[in-house]
Symmetry: D2
Subunit: 341 residues, 4 copies
């Protein structure tokens, strides 16, 4: 009987990027690794390996016919962390093949940066640093005329998945009143974390800080636009931490330029941003070049979560750390493979 | 019998700055206010009022002979928040006159800013914003080559009074290992807040983030100098949040300039900083022009804490919110009145 | 087109027991309820309803052939909260039919009682109350010769599902060192909750409090027996909160009788316990007649969790509150329907 | 020059009861110990030692004339933990002699027991254990007809010193709405701990659990009587954890006997309670024979807090762990030395 094969096809990741040597050693104990890191694994090799493959680490296309030629397959683990339409999710479900992704690995670094940006928008940290460098700083009380306090302010979270919940945990000591808008969740989940379920309009009108973690779906593109920015109170701090397409980007820039909001964004409609893009000079904003999540430790989390769950699956147990690709959700998400993070 | 007098001599504060109308109304119920806000109260007026004065809100000089002429005096509340050498503390203690100050009012805004600066030093928020404005930004993983995570990092707190403890509460969700150096405190106080008591050298050598909240005393001026910066590991984030004199400032700038540390400071040896001071161009630093504490809400806290404690004192109860001027400590502190915050 | 049917077959529950009127009203908005509460729904009625049934609330047997006659079925929600072998779980998975149960509804009341029992075992609350009633009480220090403190003690949790995690949350302020043994979980899950993964023997030997929340499976019956009790230190507090079959019950009674452990149990091998069962006079024990979970609020949680998740499922979204019947797990669990709770 | 003397006169404590050997060793480094543990120190010995005494550990009477003969005295540390009227507190204050007590040592064990009693009153733990021993137990839902949940219930705390605050910390995970009545505290202290300041009547009428930690003063004896019990809702759980004299004890027993409240008490008007006292058969009560605080670890805390603060005082620093005898408060407290705890 041949050894079980673990097909490793991780691009744009590489194994070294996502696994420490001890984690990789754990993976190697689970089967024979066949790795393609320079380029996506070739059709021929995939076909040759399918009969003995028990698990796939990567983004290999797995239509129904391939699944049928992989009778021992138990798990497909997407290590890029966005589910792609190149898998027949329904066929996997029928077969009891776990399709999972350690997407929550990015939650911690993004949440941390988000809190840093919240405090910066509140207290003017980067703006004051710029002023000091330019010799135009003010001191003490005078320097705080326009500042607000993050502690005790009302916070609205749009999208309450891993990111939103991690952020909520980080801000607990700040005693904010927290509203959550997430149409995919029941009130119970939200209330257990000491937040209030809210419709979007109320959240926008009542929150001094509005933080967007929502994914882009086929249904919600640009769902925060000029009308929504107008609903916010003057001086609201708006943070865009998920995907640019969630927001009407020019409307956001207008609202910041006019001083209606102060804003921070980690994402842009086109990345890299063109050199002469007017976004670069928009006042009342803090810019982060899609860099809030991609830390070394987050990448290593991807690997350790993947391996820990694969260990469970090959013991006949359900995975505990990765997110499952519920077919209905996977179909709604407009995921596009990232080239960078 | 004459009405009790509350002598209000608050400069550089003014009553409106530190009290909302409801708080002022509570103060007015405690006695007849005599207020001097344009200039320090005159000798003549003070002398005239002493016999009926039950409380002083402000920084009025109170040597022993004045205290003797104020037989009804129960409380002196310093609203500038640094005890001055213009009071005979021992005489107050003998008489059972409370000498207190609502200094912890600034703890919350300073702690919040400190966390914002920690995350900024870790994740490069303001530097990345500057790069983006200049068109030199990098994205994703590439942008995180030099970043560290605040979550999970070791933290050293130098000085564990109101500021240090508030900061410690704010960072609880980040699960740092926290060392504390404070020679005025027993280990029990430190361990109750889930920190480890440490000597200074160990703290400096083991902490990825070193945060200085220590007051300046007659004993500790410049106690963090070139030797101490050399003890820190390369890449340590150093935050100076209390008084510039605690640190050998040029040594700090050298350590930052050479890339040995990354630093943030809220205080400077001379404020305002001269226009051409070379500090302004020191790399690897974030600058904050003595602005971390002076928020409107902190000033209003001063007033509400002062009034709440005065209410207790005039009922014969001990104050609960303000800090007491323990004579031994008051003598050690090299406090100088601030002109701004 | 006919209205969607929700088949309600909840015995031993009844709808009134598990739903407040507002929750029931939400359920009624989802389809036409057909309810059988006096007796299990008859074969004839089930067969008649299958073609239009979109959801089942209850424990109705659903073998493959019935599932095939229910083409619109989207969800089976077990409201007794133990999965039974009367469902073809694999067939449900193939079809994408959610099989779920709001079992975590009992976690909160069980965890609360468990903490009460821990403190009672530590501090002798019920024993001291009995002594006082009998006039044999001792006072003060003398009464504390044999007591221990729960705060700061080492705690071992055996089984880290909903119950174990809720208990862990409740005891956070007590600052215990917490070890967890759960062979179905990766270390990451355990460490995220500030516990240490442990093998069973180490946990038993090192914990002053051993709390068993583990389910009974085909593999673990009686896995805590005489050998395991001998591993515990003298004076260990042992709490059995899940199923009697997890433990060698006579061995537990022996260990308590001999004074090696102090114990509390919520479950018994046969319930009701026979009148003359010697368990009733075993010293060093606290007895709870399978009553830690069955509170009114827990039953109402069952209903509200079931309805909230059914709302999501019928909108095409995954459930968020109930536990899913992973086929491999469901097959391992030796669940037997309870007649009482 | 003679060595400084530490006068140790600790009865009813003994040094071994309150200090581990390492703590005692720390004490011995501070001066020459002169110890009287078999009987209170004799007049003659005290007089002989006064000139060289720097600190007193114990309850030695210190009227003004003795203080005058102890010119080096810096600290009096009461290790019984109730301030007595045998000290001239005003004279100590004049001299800057610290009079302190490590009374908060008992807060942790009392708070732990209090939570155990709250859960017991809510869930009927000791009553169900008694029923099981008598063979009259009921099971499951039937056994929970009269139970309530502690989690989520409204809680009223009467007296918010060390005990009340420690209890408040312990119950945080239970998410109660907490009201506090304490006329010696400003609202700020109460609100910082996420409680609401309340008058007594509102607290009694709105709380499902009323916990009394208030000290007895010259003003508040029996302040909870028949009128106050009538204000409580039927089924309220009432816990008396401080001093019997705070309550009209017969009125409490009447309210429990009639089923209006369920109650637990750790204190009794006369202790030991007479053998035939009818309190012993009062239904709906849990009895604790003044045993909630007197644990070994609490006694050892007394010693370690005393020594840590004495170390600070002898370095010229203010104490940090013990409570200070504010003269006004000390005079109000009707403290009587305990003979047991």
């Amino acid at each position: 009987m041949s050894e079980p094969v673990i097909l490793v096809d991780p691009l744009p990741r590489t194994l070294d990027l996502i696994m420490t040597p001890p984690v990789r050693a754990r993976l190697e104990r689970l089967g024979r690794l066949v790795i393609s890191e320079e380029q996506p694994m070739s059709e021929e090799e995939i076909e040759r390996l399918l009969p003995e493959t028990v698990a796939i680490l990567g983004q290999t296309a797995m239509p129904r016919e391939r699944l049928e030629r992989a009778p021992k397959l138990k798990a497909i683990i997407n290590v890029e962390t966005n589910f792609l339409p190149n898998i027949d999710y329904a066929a996997c479900q029928e077969r009891g093949i776990w399709v999972i992704t350690p997407g929550s690995a990015f939650a911690a670094p993004v949440a941390e940066t988000t809190l840093g940006l919240c405090i910066d928008l509140a207290r003017g940290i980067s703006a004051a640093d710029r002023a000091f460098r330019e010799g135009t700083e003010t001191y003490g009380l005078e320097a705080n005329v326009d500042t607000i306090r993050f502690e005790g302010s009302s916070v609205g979270i749009v999208g309450f998945g891993d990111l939103g919940r991690k952020f909520r945990e980080l801000i607990r000591p700040f005693r904010n009143e927290v509203r959550v808008f997430d149409p995919w969740l029941p009130a119970e989940i939200i209330e257990r974390m000491d937040c209030r379920q809210s419709d979007l309009d109320t959240l926008l009108a009542e929150s001094q800080f509005v933080v967007v973690f929502a994914s882009v779906t086929t249904e919600n593109a640009h769902f925060i636009g000029a009308r929504e920015f107008a609903l916010m109170r003057k001086g609201t701090a708006f943070l865009l931490m998920s995907r640019a397409a969630v927001v009407d980007f020019p409307a956001m820039l207008d609202a910041a330029r006019g001083g209606h909001i102060r804003a921070a964004t980690d994402v842009f409609p086109v990345e890299p941003v063109p050199a002469d893009d007017p976004v670069r000079t928009t006042p009342n904003m803090i810019f982060s070049a899609h860099r809030s999540g991609g830390t070394n430790d987050a990448l290593l989390q991807i690997g350790s979560m993947a391996v820990a769950d694969l260990e469970l699956i090959l013991r006949g147990l359900p995975p505990q750390l990765c997110r499952r690709a519920d077919p209905t959700i996977a179909a709604r998400l407009r995921s596009q493979p990232v080239s960078r993070t």
